[in-house]
């Protein structure tokens, strides 16, 4: 099979490629692997220093591990995928340390430090991953409150214990994983507070039996927790974090089994210096939004997700979305979705006939069907309940960047705001550097709770390029406006955010 030539245009950092994959996590790597196997050359960019994304993140290149067995199953899965990528050959041009800051039609703007450029991609796979769902409660901005993903990254790849004594709270199997990792790192974990409660009906058991391997992960983590003497408390959560400058204590207690409303009269205070919070994940949809893809709100997938076909095609021709960024379902699902996206991109580029493409898509599609049954069971345990929005008090910070309180958001509601966009204009909510990533998901639920409607009716805070900080110099060098004059050639970094 003939390999497509990658055309590199020297002028102004512009480059033309047949396929650009954005995101080097499980979905992006799998898409690149399948495309390259079919002979379609692809460029793979990721913001991180190496490939792997969050879950398969590598240790820093300068670190040496004496015994890799201790690094766990996720590490082994990540290594296997990286080996597959290496074996897929020279058709993959991997560029870590590269942030995509905007998409204009088929032009994708990237920044790497003070360097920048534009890639014109005939096809685009967006595999941008997800981030920890922010849930506001009093004290959640104190240093010492970390997301589950953040704490895991520190312990796993930096090998630093972020505190001495910790409470882990939220929902989902990741809590068990993080609690064990903290314990192994020498942190005293006082408890894991899981807001949900599993109901192991025979029907649920039947559904997950086909994915014993995945269940074994959860089972192993649970057993390790028991061995460590860390109590797992169902239908409990954190109510508040306390401390003058850092976390010194937390209040936690039971929640209503159905609604997850906090039962405050039964709250108790625990002295900890670390609070790890994980309420599931939110898909990163900034790039699918900038690419013009249609989105819909799917509660069990984490909120707004791009509308897709079973072949991972979005509503924009030539643009595919795969992995947690297109709907949170975990790394194993992400890999299979990525494979399907890569195969379909190769098919549409003319590198595979439709019969061959179907043949290649069949195994990952079968894996997805099997994994979907496990998801159903896990989703039911971790389905967010409306009572979670009651954790915040009027003084609680809603928008961490612009320091907008819940009281100010409610004030905007009283002044007639009916959606996120109106609240943004009245309060500056979502106008800071995080672009609403940390406030929009929770405030959509808060507004919906107040209005008695669904969060999808609250709209979105639109992403604006550059979605990641870039110096003015780097932006000027992007060459997006070809008719600019010499004055536009600002070479000095003059701002960190656009």
């Amino acid at each position: 099979m003939a390999r497509r030539r990658v055309e590199v245009l020297a002028a102004g950092g512009r480059m033309k490629v047949p396929l650009l994959v954005v995101g080097g996590g499980p979905a992006g790597m799998a898409a690149a692997i399948e495309a390259a196997r079919a002979g379609l050359a692809c460029t793979l960019v990721d913001e991180g220093p190496g490939l792997g994304g969050q879950i398969y993140r590598q240790l820093p290149a300068s670190f040496r591990v004496h015994d890799a067995r201790g690094l766990g199953r996720d590490h082994a899965r990540g290594e296997a995928l990286r080996a597959e990528l290496a074996a897929a050959g020279e058709g993959i041009d991997a560029r870590p340390g590269t942030s995509v800051v905007g998409i204009w039609g088929s032009d994708v703007a990237w920044v790497a430090g003070d360097a920048s450029g534009t890639i014109t991609a005939e096809q685009l796979v967006l595999a941008t991953g997800a981030y920890d769902r922010p849930v506001p409660f009093p004290g959640w901005t104190l240093p010492g409150v970390l997301t589950a993903g953040g704490a895991q990254g520190l312990v796993k790849t930096m090998r630093v214990a972020p505190g001495r004594r910790a409470l882990v709270a939220g929902t989902g199997p990741l809590l068990l994983v993080v609690a064990n990792q903290l314990h192994q790192a020498g942190v005293e974990v006082v408890a894991v507070a899981e807001a949900g409660c599993p109901t192991w009906s025979p029907r649920a058991f039947g559904k997950v039996w086909g994915e014993r391997g995945l269940l074994k992960d959860a089972w192993d983590h649970w057993r390790a927790l028991r061995r460590a003497g860390i109590p797992l408390r169902f239908n409990q959560t954190v109510f508040a974090a306390h401390g003058a400058r850092e976390v010194e204590a937390v209040t936690c207690g039971p929640v209503d089994v159905e609604t997850w409303s906090p039962i405050r009269e039964r709250a108790r205070r625990i002295d900890v210096d670390l609070l790890v919070v994980g309420f599931g994940f939110v898909p990163n949809t900034e790039l699918t939004a900038l690419a013009g893809c249609r989105h819909r709100y799917v509660h069990e997938l984490g909120g707004w997700t791009p509308v897709r076909t079973a072949r991972m095609e979005t509503t924009v021709p030539g643009v595919f979305a795969a992995g947690d960024g297109a709907g949170v379902a975990g790394a194993l699902v992400a890999v299979e979705e990525g494979r399907i996206a890569g195969i379909t991109a190769a098919e549409q580029a003319g590198m595979l006939g439709s019969a061959e493409a179907d043949r290649r898509r069949a195994p990952p599609a079968a894996r997805l069907r099997s994994l979907a049954r496990v998801r159903e069971v896990l989703d039911e345990i971790s389905r967010l309940r409306p009572g979670l929005t009651e954790l915040a008090t009027p003084e609680t910070v809603a928008c961490r960047c612009e320091e907008v309180s819940i009281a100010e958001v409610d004030g905007a509601l009283e002044r007639g705001a009916r959606d996120l966009q109106a609240v943004k204009l009245l309060t500056r909510l979502g106008m800071g550097p995080c672009q609403g990533r940390n406030c929009a998901p929770s405030m959509a639920l808060h507004l919906a709770h107040a209005a008695g409607e669904g969060p999808e009716a609250m709209g979105r805070i639109n992403p604006r390029p550059p979605i990641k900080p870039a110096t003015v110099g780097a932006l000027a060098n992007l060459n997006l406006h070809r008719n600019r004059d010499a004055q536009g050639r600002a070479a000095h970094p003059a701002g960190s955010q656009g």
Partner: protein, 122 residues
């Protein structure tokens, strides 16, 4: 304002030492005080290892903030690094001799840089 880094009298090290060889030992300077770090670590990780968790104070209320998301999305961990404000320390690897400052509010660019920028006529 100078933050406490709890390292002069009783050096704190929260690094996990198990079957791992870190990169070369380096030293970064945080608010004028030396802090030990290892190549490959992020600035945020090196600071947490030294027990420093307040990385900045906010513009509106002067509230303390620290590492939160750890993956470069929330911008809570920004500090002034080598005189450049709003640098995400969870995404920035340490470098020997790096100058890190606890950031107050939105931070500021050094005057010298803005002067030379003006001189350049950009």
């Amino acid at each position: 304002m100078r933050m406490e880094h709890q390292q002069a009298s009783e050096p704190m090290d929260r690094r996990v030492e198990d079957g791992l060889q870190r990169g070369r030992a380096v030293e970064i300077v945080v608010d004028g005080l030396p802090v030990r770090a290892f190549e490959g670590e992020s600035v945020a990780a090196a600071l947490l290892a030294a027990g420093t968790r307040v990385l900045r104070t906010t513009a509106r209320h002067g509230a303390p903030r620290g590492l939160y998301c750890g993956i470069g999305l929330c911008f809570e961990c920004v500090m002034t690094v080598d005189r450049r404000p709003n640098v995400r320390t969870c995404q920035t690897p340490v470098r020997d001799g790096m100058q890190v400052e606890t950031q107050q509010g939105e931070g500021r660019w050094p005057d010298a840089a803005s002067r030379s920028w003006r001189r350049a006529g950009a």
